[in-house]
């Protein structure tokens, strides 16, 4: 996971993380997820696989879900990054998080921050969601605890509340 590149010198990046302007010196090889977790202390994004398979490291970049283990920090020059810490309301839960709680769509919680962000983007984009669509959209986020059952139920319940017809 640590490509042997030129190291020991930093590159300057300026970006917005959770609506705060941030300036940093980062190694060119630093992954976005390591930058967020280690330099900024934002540990909500988790590292599950290092290969872009599991989605535990999902964050939003300009509102789009991206896997932060598959991006370099230096690629985020000028970007707007939102992590789970920035997506949370000051207190309590978003409608999506509330629905996940009602359905117990979280067990060990390791995949959860990434899943919440991926689903938040999906719900922002789409007013009409079918079960099949939700399952396809969740393909980038692995969960080993819930079997996805409660997660899909939760998303469909929120999509229904948003006023869109829920076609199962």
């Amino acid at each position: 996971m640590f490509p042997c590149l030129v190291w020991g010198f930093g590159m300057h990046i300026s970006l917005s993380v959770n609506d705060r302007a941030t300036e940093s010196e980062v190694e060119p090889r630093a992954l976005l997820v390591d930058y967020l977790r280690e330099d900024l202390g934002l540990t909500g994004a988790k590292v599950g696989c290092d290969t872009g398979q599991c989605g535990s490291c999902t964050v939003l970049m300009g509102g789009r879900a991206v896997k932060s283990c598959a991006m370099l920090a230096v690629q985020c020059q000028g970007a707007e990054i939102t992590t789970i810490e920035g997506a949370n309301p000051a207190t309590g839960l978003t409608d999506l998080q509330e629905a996940l709680w009602t359905q117990h769509g979280v067990q060990c919680g390791f995949c959860t921050p990434g899943m919440v962000l991926a689903l938040q983007q999906l719900l922002a984009d789409e007013k009409v969601l079918t079960e099949e669509r939700v399952r396809r959209e969740l393909a980038g986020n692995l969960c080993r605890c819930t079997g996805y059952q409660s997660v899909v139920r939760a998303v469909l319940s929120v999509a229904g509340q948003n006023g869109g017809p829920v076609d199962e």
Binding site: Q107, G109, C145, V151
Partner: protein, 798 residues
Amino acid sequence: MSEQVLGSPVKPREDPALLRGEREYTADLVRPGMVHMEFLRSEHGHARIRSIDTAAALAMPGVLKIVTGPDLEGHLMPLPCIWVPGGVESHFPPHPYGLPGAGTALATDRVRFIGDPVAAIVAETRAQAAEAARAIRVEYEVLPAVVTPQAALAEGAPQLHDAVPGNLNALWSCGDAAGTDKAIADAPVVVDLELHNRRTINSPLEPRGALGEYDARTGDYTLTGTSQSPHNHRFLLAALVLGIPFTKLRIVSPEIGGSFGTKGYLYPDMPLVLHLAKEVGRPVKWTDDRYGLMRSTVQGRDHRQYAKIAGTRDGKITALRCTSYANLGAYPSTIGPGVATALMGRSITGTYDIEHAFCEVYATFTNTVPLGAQRGSGRAEATFLTERLVDRFAATIGMDPAEVRRLNMIKPEQQPFDNRMGWLYDSGDYRETLEMALERAGYADREATRRSARERGKLLGYGLASYVAVCGVGPSPRIAKEGMLGGSWESANIRVHPDGETTLTIGVTTTGQSHETTFGQIVAEEFGVDLGTVQVLHSDTFRAPYGQGTYGSRSFSVGGPAVRLAARKVVDKMRAVAAHQFGVSPEKVVYEGGKAFVPGSEDKAKTFSDLAMAIWYGWDLPAGMEPAIDETSVFDPADFNYPYGAHVAIVEVDEATGAVDLVRYIAVNDVGVVGNPLVVDGQIEGSIVHGVGQALMEVARYDESGALLTDNLDKYAIPRAYDVPFFELDRTETPTQHNPLGAKGAGEAATVPVAAAVTNAVCDALAGLGITHLDMPLTPETVWRAMNEATVGKGEKR
């Protein structure tokens, strides 16, 4: 508060913080001055280490310390194995205390599997440690490797351990060999089945991690990491690896990101971070990554089985026999040999009354990652075999597989039932769950459903599997007989504070099972108080009462009763104090709904808070009563418990591609009394997907040199959301008599029949082509090849 708390679908109190990403996992932890450890792992399946040159690595920036196997002599003893095949001769790598050993923390002269750690590097950053690992030069003499048990047992096979002749850990058996052989010889129908229940990788989303701290002033060690059995690991690490007093080691488990069995083992990193923290004088953290997990965290299943089922033409099963070659991997994992033998072998008669049965297991070492538990371990392997055999038997005599199951199932009036292999089932109506599942699945209309799928170019199949799964490990003397070196009781402590708030501290550790809610529900129910007033603590050996660990679906069914017993001690004390204040005898006082009162004088009731305060002050207590409420109970169950159920899988196989689509899954389970249905259903749903994964896609592949080909999630497939439909769940609730809660194991039981149900469904779909059995995983390639061979064999063109 009068409504029932225990048994209600209370939304888990830990979920909001998890949904906000606020709970800390091992990888998230930071300590002042913390440095990082990385491993250099073997790149060969089997090799002799000729030399290790660390000079260049040591000179690299940030590198503080590098240790290899010989450096650990006199500091760390080899890891122990604590579950040996019971009642038979067995052979293990050495441990200085004469116990079964499980290998040294770092390889000394030889590496025996692809993930075997050769050196540990400590550096200021993780990246520096990883860079240094790559700069270490190891000269290997590559040795021939063996990756299957049968190859390892063959004459002239490469030998893994000097102390293990022929690579055979043990030949373990149970049941009646002679009677079974005779019954098979006498039977009108005998069906053979040879199958490979292949190696799987559990793959929790969180890789393992460990943070070691050492206080030079006191000599105290603290290990914070991904341990699902902190108390048990404390005992093993302190006494058998580090050689320090129990009091010098504290183990804390922060949030754990799933385990499914893998995090209950001792691993080399655990003593190493402690030893190295002492050596470098700073906290040392190790965080595994997915590549490391795939090649070093225990793997599951892996039995090659040769079995026979015998019976009559009218469907009565008379005998079952199995010879199994179990692949233990390169070293015995902490409990691997027991999982591969007793947990599998004693379970092969399943839900059936089979008069003659016998199982033997060759537990064998090979050059692969050590074998441990995968959700449903042992029992899932046994159930897969049994349920495949029953289907094969039904097909051979031309009988409906549901009917064969009905005919042979143990009847409720036969309970408790001695399964003749060592388990005494406690309770249950197995047929009831089968009928419920069949009804829900529309089994009676299956031919019509099949025809309509056929019109769409799909081959539809129904797969049945019933199961009974030994769970809730305990009592202690019973597990000793099975070769387990350890106890199996659990404990709980309750303190009631003067303001009426309660702290419950439990010995068991959660890896995602909502313990803080469910265990709190037991107390809230007993006390008649709001769940919000009950705090639940766990997973810190300094604070928590002892526990033996979360494994074998034992937390709620063994730890839960300890909580109830402790709560009842508190209620008894409160009742005695109330009686003293009322001037009546304690029998006259009722405690209900959070109040103690004498019936008829409810207006003078004392509330829980009143009594908590009174006992705290201690001004007016019955003679001889100790002030304060601080009660501990320890529970060792009367016997194991036996959840059961029946599942039906309905699959459609695409004729053109061989792709298997799981279209419906019906699961009826009985896990005894349910503490929180929302939590239990979550466990059941997750359990089912583990089984679906094994059936359809999961397999760990090694090449002949012992290289692991499936070393990350891009090569080892686990189910994604689109691989499964919504499941259809139902339950019966038959209490076990073996604990006062009546609860049975629920964390893994529902995994046990799934691979069998799905495989039976696929084989049913393909039966028309003459296909009788397929080994998992049933990938499109496997299925397409089988279909192609079957049809080409018949002279048809595809």
